[in-house]
């Protein structure tokens, strides 16, 4: 059994609105083991980014964490002091934010930006720092000369690689990447996915990859969690899950992916996700589910339970 690195238990994160709270992450539990790549998939508004912010305690008002635990190597990140948390962030858990290629400071050279991140956490001589930055850039496939450049001199894909290099700068044990390949060209996308896989072998780190792109998930993750309307509906080994998705939503999501290699009729899922201020009672997928059991699924909320080895599903079809 590999050791658990991150253990998220019953996490609840809401957004305050004038009417009712938006229940964006509602009682979510999962774990990440050492040197594992865990994917979190789901459509826009399903709560996957809120989940990332919450785990890092970066959720800003009107968002707030209402309950649960985020245990990182045994200590609850939701309870520790801000100062201690700051030491853990970047050094132990780093983050690649959404559209991060636009997150770089436009008036600072790349070396200064990476340098700042390193010096905030480590005492390091100038020469060592320069060497570290060069090594980092090379490890993401960039020329060391990129260090002297400004962000505008780089393409979106190169800036994304710089951000990945920054996330790797302090040898963290866990990297959370939120939509790291969205808005990039396919060839670059493939290179970035390759890099995320390299992180595990180079840093011996774990990665949580959050993306709606199921094909990208299929290419690199070990395990996959599928979120729908603020809940994890299924989680399991990526091979098993793609081969035999159990939850009706996972099935619909996987069968809606067009493939370049074969032409099969695609079926969309009728309806659309619920308003998370007033989610439907029982299972949140009930209104769109082709296998729903009236009187049960719209009354009883299915819990996420293990149905076979390592596969957890929240659906009444599997009790």
């Amino acid at each position: 059994m590999p050791d658990t690195l991150l253990d998220v238990r019953n996490l609840i994160a809401y957004y305050m609105t004038p009417t009712a709270p938006v229940r964006a992450v509602d009682n979510v539990s999962f774990n990440v083991t050492e040197k594992e790549i865990l994917g979190i998939a789901g459509e826009s508004g399903c709560g996957k980014s809120t989940l990332a912010y919450s785990v890092l305690r970066l959720l800003k008002p009107p968002g707030y964490i209402r309950g649960g635990e985020v245990l990182f190597k045994g200590s609850d990140l939701l309870k520790i002091e801000e100062e201690e948390l700051r030491r853990i962030r970047w050094k132990h858990i780093s983050y690649i934010p959404q559209s991060s290629m636009n997150a770089l400071n436009p008036v600072m050279r790349i070396e200064e930006q990476i340098g700042d991140a390193v010096r905030n956490h480590e005492k390091i001589s100038k020469g060592e720092l320069r060497k570290r930055i060069e090594d980092l850039l090379v490890s993401v496939g960039l020329s060391p000369s990129v260090a002297h450049m400004y962000p505008h001199e780089l393409s979106g894909g190169m800036r994304q690689r710089v951000v990945i290099a920054m996330a790797m700068a302090l040898n963290p044990e866990l990297i959370i990447a939120d939509e790291p390949t969205t808005a990039l060209d396919v060839v670059v996308q493939r290179g970035i996915l390759q890099l995320l896989r390299d992180i595990r072998s180079k840093l011996k780190a774990s990665v949580i990859m959050i993306t709606h792109d199921m094909a990208a998930q299929a290419q690199i993750v070990d395990r996959l969690a599928i979120m729908y309307a603020g809940k994890i509906v299924e989680i399991g080994d990526a091979n098993d899950l793609f081969n035999d998705p159990l939850h009706p939503y996972s099935r619909a999501l996987i069968s809606a992916i067009p493939s370049i290699s074969e032409k099969k009729k695609l079926k969309g899922v009728p309806g659309f996700p619920p308003d998370l201020r007033s989610p439907p009672p029982g299972c949140r997928f009930y209104p769109r589910c082709p296998h729903r059991i009236p009187g049960k699924c719209n009354v009883d909320e299915p819990r996420l339970i293990e149905v076979k080895n390592g596969r957890l599903v929240a659906c009444h079809l599997y009790r």
Partner: protein, 326 residues
């Protein structure tokens, strides 16, 4: 004039002046592009490429939003920039556009009904309120929406998929011959994307509407289109039936592109690695004489740096711009 095409693009070129601080120069966004779409049968033609390939500029040129630097666009044999006022009005009716962001196309302060009533008024499609209401409900039905689901609502009350279907309904109202759809599903969630693509297929088969589908996503291109054009830095690299080009690509760039599309199956992961460029390939460092793909090509030859390959007809229906096939 029987055999004229629906759309014919001849040696289309668009040059933009670049306003860089460090470098002043010109960018050929579209560089001598020629292709056509037939008039006799409806087709869906994909214009695919990465960012900077010129696919969106080509679409904007066809829609008449910008004027070509050289070359021409013929609609049913008539140069769109030499049309009479009446011909132009007809063109604006028969060639419709659908864009990437189905939210940006709506005024958030107005109910969605407005995007449907305006074209009816502007093109005088109905003689009475009732007739207008019938047209609207027919159009919504065609794209799989119910009137009471969407009418009377504000844009933010609808999902992206519903908004994009309303844009297709709006286009349908005008009974167009061609819809230019620029990344219409790239902002739509996967579970709703398939239904939009299916609406496009329906509009083609049931109502004989052709599409010029602009996308970076080759998987959806395979799903909806008959033919495909793959562009790179303003030029056409390969053109032909989608089932041939995407299954057995000829051009090394198209091969690289297809090989990089992730397969949604963990048992079919990439086996080999790719190298990304270590430093930016700027327009200045680009070959001006040779093949545009030369700096990245794995099969490049001496000749490729010196001479730009023409788009040549290599087999029935297939064109490739590569010295390997000439």
């Amino acid at each position: 004039m029987k055999n004229e095409n629906l759309i014919e693009v001849n040696h289309l070129t668009k040059v933009f002046a670049s306003r860089g601080v460090m470098s002043k120069g010109q960018i050929k966004a579209v560089d001598d592009v020629s292709f056509s779409m037939p008039r006799e049968k409806p087709t869906i033609l994909t214009l695919a490429g990465e960012s900077g390939s010129g696919k969106t500029t080509t679409a904007r040129l066809i829609l008449g939003f910008i004027k070509p630097t050289s070359g021409k666009i013929l609609y049913q044999g008539r140069n769109i920039w030499k049309m009479t006022k009446d011909e132009w009005v007809r063109y604006r009716k028969e060639v419709q556009a659908v864009f990437q962001d189905p939210y940006g196309a709506f005024n958030p302060l107005h109910k969605v009904d407005r995007v449907l009533t305006i074209p009816i008024r502007k093109f005088k499609l109905a003689n009475s309120e009732e007739e207008a209401a019938d047209l609207i409900s027919e159009a919504l039905g065609v794209v799989g929406l119910k009137t009471d689901e969407v009418l009377g609502k504000y844009p933010h009350q609808l999902s992206g998929g519903q908004r994009q279907r309303i844009m297709l309904a709006r286009a349908f109202l005008l009974k167009p011959k061609l819809i230019v759809a620029d990344e219409p599903v790239s902002m739509i969630d996967a579970s709703l994307r398939a239904s939009i693509l299916n609406v496009m297929l329906d509009l083609k088969s049931k109502f004989s509407i052709s599409f010029l589908y602009i996308t970076h996503d080759l998987s959806t291109a395979r799903y909806v289109s008959d033919n495909i054009i793959v562009m790179y830095l303003g030029s056409i690299m390969e053109m032909g039936p989608v089932d041939k080009v995407l299954v057995k690509p000829l051009h090394p760039y198209v091969k690289l592109l297809i090989d990089s599309v992730p397969v949604p199956d963990p048992e079919r992961r990439w086996k080999n690695r790719i190298e990304l460029p270590r430093i930016e390939i700027t327009s200045q460092s680009l070959q001006t004489r040779g093949c545009k793909f030369y700096p990245r090509c794995s099969q490049r030859m001496e000749k490729c740096s010196k001479e730009r390959p023409d788009l040549a007809n290599v087999e029935e229906d297939r064109w490739v711009a590569c010295h390997l096939y000439q």
